[in-house]
Every structure is written in C-alpha cells, then in structure tokens.
Amino acid sequence: MSLEQETLNAVQENQGGAVVQEAPEAWKPKILAFTCNWCTYAGADLAGLNRMKYPADVRLLRLPCSGRVNPQFVLHAFQKGCDGVLVCGCHPGDCHYSTGNYFTRRRMLLYRRYLEYFGIEPERFQIRWISGSEAGKFRDTVVDTCEAITKLGPNHKFREEGR
C-alpha cells in the first residue's frame, strides 16, 4: 500500500470516512504537448477555430520556442504521471528566433534515442514540426498519438512510486 493511501486511510479514520474516494473509471491517457507559441500554438488555435475534433487528453503547454524545451522537462513529465510527451515547434527555417528549432532538432534527435535507451517506448515521446497554418496536421498528430498511447496503455516507467 503506497504511503499516500495509508495517509488518506488514516485521515478517513480520524474524520469517520468523510473522504469520498471517486470510482476509478476507465483509464484515459495523459499527454503533455510542449507547443511553440508562434507556430504550433497558433495551429492548435486554428484547429479550434475550424471546429476540428481531437481527443481532450492532450494538455498544451505554451513555450516561447521549441528550443525552450529542457530535456529535464520531458523526464519530469513522465515522472509526474504523463503517459506521452509531444514536443512541437515551427518548421526549421520558420523559427521566430531564427535558429531555435535547429538546436532543438539536434537536441531532441539525441534525447529521443536516449530515453528509448532507458526503456521509453518510441510512441510515447514524439517531436513534430507543425506550422501555424497546419491545423489539420496538429489534429492528426494528436489523434495518432492518443491512439498509439491508448494502445500502449498507462506508462509505469519513471513513475515516482516513492522509495
């Protein structure tokens, strides 16, 4: 029994079962998408404008540039409970800061292989270039990633299960 469960049970005894434990309904994937503010976030916005449907399991995190994605953010995302991580940025050459995504490309090429080396399935950590006008590509990327990860099931690797 994990420490948290023990504490919640202890709290229940103290307060006579006041804590309501919500029923664990069907598992839904948690995917974190690091989106670059100038392109992908605009693309996601456009997808919304055009009423495009894509699963709500993706949580967007807006960053000034895909170059701002520190590899430790990706590892922390997996540790804090994400089942999949998506890093999106502008196409090389369109970067608002002109060279941000060139460095990202090199860094993520290495880091993706690095995390696979430690056991992360390739589908769980993907990088895509999505420009501001490619709303459709954004939706397809999100739909494909959700499908792949739902097939893979919940991620138990790198999870903070205490000691």
Binding site: L3, E4, E6, T7, A10, N14, E160, G162, R163
Partner: protein, 346 residues
Amino acid sequence: MILKKERLNDLLEALASKATVYVPRELDGQTRFAPFAKGSAVELGKAKTVFSPKETLFPQTETLYTYAQLGEDITLCETVNTTNQVLFGVRSCDTYSIERLDEVFLTRTFIDTLYLERRNNTLIVALGCTEPDRSCFCTSFGIDPAAGTGADIQLTDTGDGYFVEALTGRGTEALQAWSPFLTEGQKTAARELTFSLALDTSNVKDSLEQLFEHAYWNDLSMKCLGCGTCAFVCPTCHCFDMSQNNKGNTGYRFRTWDSCTFSDYSMMAGFHNPRPTKMRRLRNRFMHKLSFFSDRYGSSLCCGCGRCIELCPAGIDISRVIEDTSSLMGAGAEQQGSTAVKEVAS
C-alpha cells in the same frame, strides 16, 4: 559454547524466520550488510565491508511523517517502525561507530525516536577480527579488534567454529534460541594481529586546533573533489538534511544523508554560506572527526576502519592527515611555512 562453521547457515535461517538478519554479503561487486536469504553466501572472512552497517540503523532516506491536506486542515501521521533485526558479523570498528551514533541520537536533551526504535529492535552480534586490511588502523584509537564493545553477543573465530559469549542481558536472552546449534568448547587464545598501519593519535586533537589556520589545508583541499563518498561510506557520519515530497494533497517529509563536503551543505536562505570554499569544508570534516566530536562527546569520531582511504576518488587519506599534522606540529608549525591561510576560491 562453540558455533561450528557448518552450522552457521542453519542458525542464520532460524534467526531469519523471526527477524531480518543483516549479514555481510557481496552484492554487485561490493560487500555490504544485506538481508540473509536461504542459500546466500555470507562473507565473514573479509576484514570490513565496503559499506558500513550504519545504513541498517540510520537509513540513507527515512520518512519522518506523512501528511494529508484536505481543504484547510492538515493531518500528520508519524511513521512507526517495528521490524526486528539482527546485525550479524559486525567488526569492532563498526560496533564502536554504532556507539558513537547512539551518543549522537540518544543523548543530549533530545531523543531521536526513529533511531531509538530501530536501535532497540536490533540485536548486534560482533565478530572478532582475524586478518586486518591494509587500511585498517582501529588500534590507533584504542579499539580492540577482538572485542566489539556495545554489541550484545561476541563471536571469536576458533578455526573450525566461533566461540560465542553474551555481553549483555539481551545477548544471553537471545542465546537461548541459539542453543540447538551450539556445542561445548573452549575459547582458544586470541591470535596477535599485525596492523600494517598504526598511528599515534594521542595529540592529534591539539595539533589540529593549532594548525587550524595553516596553509596545509589549502593544498590538501585543492585535490578534494567535494563529493560525498567519504561521508556516505563512513560508519560514524550522521549529518542529515530534511526535505519533503508532495503528490497532490498528500506527501511525506523525509530526512536523507548529507555530507559537509557538499557545496550547499551550510547554504542559508539569501545565499549566505559560512563555509564557501572547499578548503573550509574539508577542514571542517577532519576537525569534526578528530577534534570537535571529542570536545563534545569525549571520544574520536574516527574508528580507523579505513573505508574513506580506500574509496576517496582523489586519494585523500585521513591517516596521512593525522601523520602530517603531528609532524607539522613537531616541526613547530608557527615558524615553518606561512600560517596565513591562502584562500583558494571555491
């Protein structure tokens, strides 16, 4: 009474049914105290384990209490530890160190009950040394390698078995459970052990205090990496840091080992650090081991086990520090060499 060596595993299995029995075992190339399981190889021949039994009494990370926050009100639950454990095959240097940890955690106004519970649930079976390592120098601190002070039961190697004698009431009580494995026998004369390393540590405390401002510390600390290896393998190091880990509205506060050689050991809020340079931190480590602790508790905090000598990545050697400081004192430190501490940054 004699415990024959071939009956050793049966005894350990019997003990393991009622408590966690920690024996010296070789895991992944390093010997350390690990729980005994049926058929695991016990390494009683080696002089000392690479990692000391300290981790069984004062684990590297230990939960102090868990907390849950619901709305505004907070509930704390203290973690209670009631597992019985037996430390089997502890050398005299480690029993001496356990006594020092007892002094720190169990005396002086506050009692650390986490340590106290574990300590009261622990039966310590000491084993006399037969063949010291090259880096052992426990006799320099007046420790008798054949007699584990502070242990409950003392074993002495008699060739084909171990002579068993109880040292404390708890020892005699535990020996009843051992009787089916013991046979009659006499204690053979203790063999004279030859220590390749023996130092005169009588005046080390004063000479260190005199040399506090000497430039010796500068050159010594320049090669120190500032890592925590020496503190984490040392059986007597007991400094810890406290922090917490949150998960939603619950979490736990824990304490974990810390080393005074780490750069952020004495860092305060507002980034004031009373020991900003590596020299001061390393000097503080050796001063605490050989001088400050005996000011407070009356005995040296170094048990002469030599683990830090073997494992220091930069080859810094506490026995050389003891020798160098007494020779510097001998040569009249004030005249020879500049006493001004040449401050080498960080």
